[in-house]
Symmetry: C4
Subunit: 266 residues, 4 copies
């Protein structure tokens, strides 16, 4: 059992001072980083031609390491009181988001052996990138950013809903304006939504744009409203940061009546 505790301590995020665990974390993160790099570079035809074998070898090596790590994690997770039961505990552990990502990142490699060969599943290899999220724990500012986004969650969701409404209305309006003149371009409302997204986010590729005076007038109003799509979330997040900083400072706030500390969350 102590071996299992030690293994669990190593495969899980490193506690301060646990050198072996820290080294393991760095090793895995480096491997993830190299994997992401490999996926990116491997997509270049000319490189794939020349170094394909090497990339495949590295892929095999990586999957073996990741499989080993995944197995160790599953084997040792019973150390955690939440996953104590040998089977149901392990299954519960496996159904957490991080282990699922870990599994999805190694699964596509094994599928061909099971007779399933979907090259499109190779895209799942990219899931490894999300494991970088692990590094997050080492940064306190990520906590701040996450805290701010969390505390403003409702406002941000609402902004997204407003965006969605604006998107639907703008693409419908533009569709009715432009369809009669450019039936190939503004062919349907869903097709026009692509234009609406490009306009409201101010990306503006230029593959679709209105040509009728009415369409241009409506599009102008929509583009200007699109500014709100930047102003609202930016204002909300900015206020969230100010608030978070205020709160932190106020933790030393003293009541002027009794002289005691006013709790941060009053």
């Amino acid at each position: 059992m102590p071996t299992r505790i030690r293994i669990w301590g190593i495969v899980e995020a490193a506690r301060r001072g646990d050198r072996a665990s820290r080294a393991f974390d760095i090793l895995i993160l480096t491997l993830i980083f190299l994997n992401v790099l490999a996926v990116i570079i491997d997509s270049v035809e000319s490189i794939r031609m020349r170094w394909g074998a090497q990339f495949d070898a590295f892929e095999t090596f990586s999957v073996i390491v990741f499989t080993l790590e995944y197995s160790l994690r599953i084997w040792a997770c019973t150390v955690d009181p939440r996953f104590r039961k040998p089977i149901t505990g392990r299954l519960r552990f496996m159904s957490h988001p991080m282990p699922i990502i870990d599994l999805l990142a190694i699964l596509p490699f094994y599928l061909p052996f099971l007779g399933i060969d979907l090259r499109s599943l190779r895209v799942l290899r990219l899931f490894r990138i999300f494991r970088i999220a692990k590094i997050g724990r080492y940064y306190s500012s990520l906590t701040l950013i996450r805290h701010v986004i969390k505390s403003k969650k409702e406002e941000l969701v609402l902004t997204t809903v407003l965006m969605g409404l604006l998107l639907v209305v703008s693409s419908s309006v533009l569709y009715y304006c432009e369809y009669p003149v450019q039936p190939q371009v503004f062919s349907s409302i869903p097709a026009t939504m692509w234009w609406a997204v490009a306009t409201l986010t101010t990306v503006g590729y230029g593959d679709m744009y209105p040509i009728t005076p009415l369409g241009k007038t409506c599009a102008s109003v929509i583009a200007i409203l699109g500014i709100g799509m930047f102003a609202l979330p930016t204002g909300i997040i900015g206020a969230g940061f100010v608030e978070a900083i205020d709160k932190r400072r106020n933790q030393t706030r003293v009541c002027p009546h009794c002289g005691k500390l006013v709790d941060a969350d009053d």
Copy 2:
């Protein structure tokens, strides 16, 4: 009369605990949502070809429900003391923005029966989407966003006016720069306004752009000034959120030790 009161309670926004009214709200909102979806999907040629009849049937069904709801609302509105008088009260109720939207959303369906058949009026079906505004009441953060925008209304209106001025000046300047060289593209000031909107909002479709050195220089200055079009409203709204949060906190700030109010300004 009690029936009318009950009906009014149901067709109006649900009060806490009124299950029938809540269910009715959800039903209507679901129907609105499905209608918006139908309008969007129905615009795709290939889907329209195959499922046109079904979409028309659903449209008929929806209009019947909405007409029924509208009639009930008109019939029952006399319960509200503001619309107590049978005729003038009802007319006053009907002239409110929400009932007008409700009417506009069902009217196009009946016009052909009256001998008027303007297919372009079908666009009015989209008005139904605005009825989604009803959900707004369930979110307190919408109140916050609305409050912030309202409290900064004057500044935001002014920013819009400044934008308008900038728009007129930029399109006039660019017209005088580019018209002699690209008379087909920068054909008039109103036509150049389309360019100015695309530039000031940083959308930049690329269908119109200056080619003369002078035009490019002016356009550069205009594009940089366009940044202010993001900075001003964003700054105003951000400050509004900070202010709103400050106010809310200061109103209820009580020292947890002595129970006295920590003064808003201390």
Copy 3:
């Protein structure tokens, strides 16, 4: 003399309660507004063809009114103690920005009579639009926006200087990257500046873009740095608004030691 004082009171911005002056202001502003509208609409070829004579008549009428107003202003300005001297006082008044704009807006009309006929000077008619700045005085929120921009002037100027540096560096770098491959497009550093402005302001027309891998890599870094061009001024202006609001509130701030009011500007 009392006539002159009365005239001066009328032609200058209206004081509260001075109805004649208010009416005069509204008349002039309406005329300015119609003039701007005329300049815009008049630029449309087809309208110019049909209504050219009417537009010219309106132009003549406007210039007569503006000339009259300008003359009255010059004649009456000696009422103001600053411009008391008949000649030097009037000249000093005429050298202020607003009267210069007024003059530039009417001058092009008279030049043909003096033998000078530069159609390009017609653009000066647009100067009339700046006279709309007059309305500004009626809005207190313009004062706030102006106050915020003024108080943050140094930071905003510096941001503009940083933008300028970034502009020069980016266009030089891209020129050296892309010139060998696209000598027609990235033909010189000044020509590349047009690209740099379009990229840093995120307008992105698409008339110029790098095609070499090195150029694309540099352009990516530049585009990401361009985000700072929005973040810095927005942050500065946002903080300025928060500060301005804080100051206003603090005007009622009480010192906790002696209980007296702490002055707003301490």
Copy 4:
């Protein structure tokens, strides 16, 4: 030795009241400014044709002045206690960023004499522009901006890391969506990154864009997430400015009536 101290005083940034040093600073800055201007204008083919000789002469003159200045700086730097030792002290001085920039800016001129003639090294002349950073010291608001960016460094670095992750994920996803249909355009993940940068920064050149429905849907989500790329840094920097201003004010806030410090947190 006193000559050396005087020279050091002159070549280094001017202290208040040191007129000779101030004049020297202005001279060098003007020369830098003219050099940058020359590099820019010299890149225009037609100007290069006609004024090439003059530009070369100016270049030679500038390099002589900069070489002289650099030599004087190296010779006199031993005055500073940090670089007191004749050889190691000077080497340490030379390895500072500013002297390195100074060297890189003059080096390309001398390389041809050493038998090395890389025209591409001419780009190094642009390094002179960074010497403009010197002016920075005269502006207190640059200190504020630098302070804010520094105090928010960790958050901004993190935002950049998040951007990087988003960039990798978006370009991989779009590559897998679009490669089968547009193998020439979305040819590899690194090639797709160019699209991802243009979309996330909302530049949107329009040289690459998805055409498949799945690609467009993914691109829409990515473009909307791109708004966060503006909202996060803007919010962070905005909060930094608010905080910096708050701190400054609170440090010096004294009640004007009783003279006591109004505590920062009260």
